[in-house]
Symmetry: C2
Subunit: 226 residues, 2 copies
Amino acid sequence: MSATSTARERARAELTREIKDAARRQLAEVGAHGLSLRAVARELGMVSSALYRYFPSRDQLLTALIIDAYNAIGEAAESADNPGQDPRERWRAIWHAARAWAREHPHEYALIYGSPIPGYQAPQDTIASAGRVALALVEVIKSGALRPIPDSPELPDQLREQAAVLTATLGVDLSATTMTRLLMAWTQLFGSISFELFGQYVNSVDPSDAFFAHTTRQMADFVGLV
Amino acid sequence: MSATSTARERARAELTREIKDAARRQLAEVGAHGLSLRAVARELGMVSSALYRYFPSRDQLLTALIIDAYNAIGEAAESADNPGQDPRERWRAIWHAARAWAREHPHEYALIYGSPIPGYQAPQDTIASAGRVALALVEVIKSGALRPIPDSPELPDQLREQAAVLTATLGVDLSATTMTRLLMAWTQLFGSISFELFGQYVNSVDPSDAFFAHTTRQMADFVGLV
DNA sequence: TTTCGTCAAGAGCAGTGCTCTCTAATTTGT
DNA sequence: ACAAATTAGAGAGCACTGCTCTTGACGAAA
């Protein structure tokens, strides 16, 4: 009676999913700015106030979509990664999968990597999902032989310590220099995608396929992938 | 009678400025999402419909603020640049000025480097202002001696041509490899700032001063600044 | 001085997020 | 099996939004 969900619980779970699906559909059409609770309710044939039994506010609905989007792009990256292949190819696959997902879901991408929308949505719920793409890159680094990178002596102490904390929590054995370079590569990955999607590359590298592919290789070199 | 503006024209220009100032003030408080025409009108002691004599829509007001923001961060970068100093110091000054401006005006920064807000604002009006920070970096590259970077043979043709067009329109003599690296550095600059402001660095490089300073140096190396 | 274009104001429309109350249905405890 | 407690949806309503249209007053040119 507790494990096997009651009919009401099943209905609730299903409706919650349907609401998110409808919201995602609308998000793809009109963007986060134009997402309307009433329109979602209309599409589902219910009245707007009923939605509040499932999501206490519009921002909470958006937060749910944010978490889903983080998981979606993370899963895209993970399933593009084939641990059997050589590290450089794995690196390339993850980068391109992330970009492909972003281009297929531009509004969802903007939701997670664009300007934060509400006052501040709780980041605590999202951090677990938010790190999946980065984690996939870490896995590649972990597995692959790295070209030795000379330790940068000018690395500031603050950064050295932050890198140390990161390698400890990730359970990976990387020098502070390499960890920092990986952070830069991670930044470069999403910086490139954002610039492409947000129109910053028009008049410079507008079809940015070649630029992105080249960036992918350059950053693989940069972190020391053989 | 035409050059020396009539009283009416002066009043119109002044009110246009006051409206933008009030909107900017409100933007800094509640963000683009919460910017309300009626609230702006209220602050100016006028009725909301009167604003439409100055800006035909809310999005047009935002577009005006976008152009102003591009110019503001561009000017911050330009005035931080001292052509008398050595190239690496100029590079550092520009990077830090851009970051400082962004941290002081987070909502204005989100307006220009975050997710595009309306359907699509005309980019044609903004491209002139949008390139000023990048142009400042180009100026530094132009002036400074560059460590020679071996030409990447794997540079795709599409990218080679895009780089050639860019160097031509910018009137600067750079190899396709260096031009591409400059584009990557430009991406890294705003990628880092966006990640910091949009909360992507929490739990990794949270006070990101050291990371940003290090990134600045690394990218100076990357483009070949001596 | 009269005419004409511009301006602020006001009312109003359609839409929004959200709250509250009411009724119907389902789950739960006895 | 029945009553009590919980949960669901419907509807009305509040305060707010962007935006349009009309009306009357003011300033500039003829």
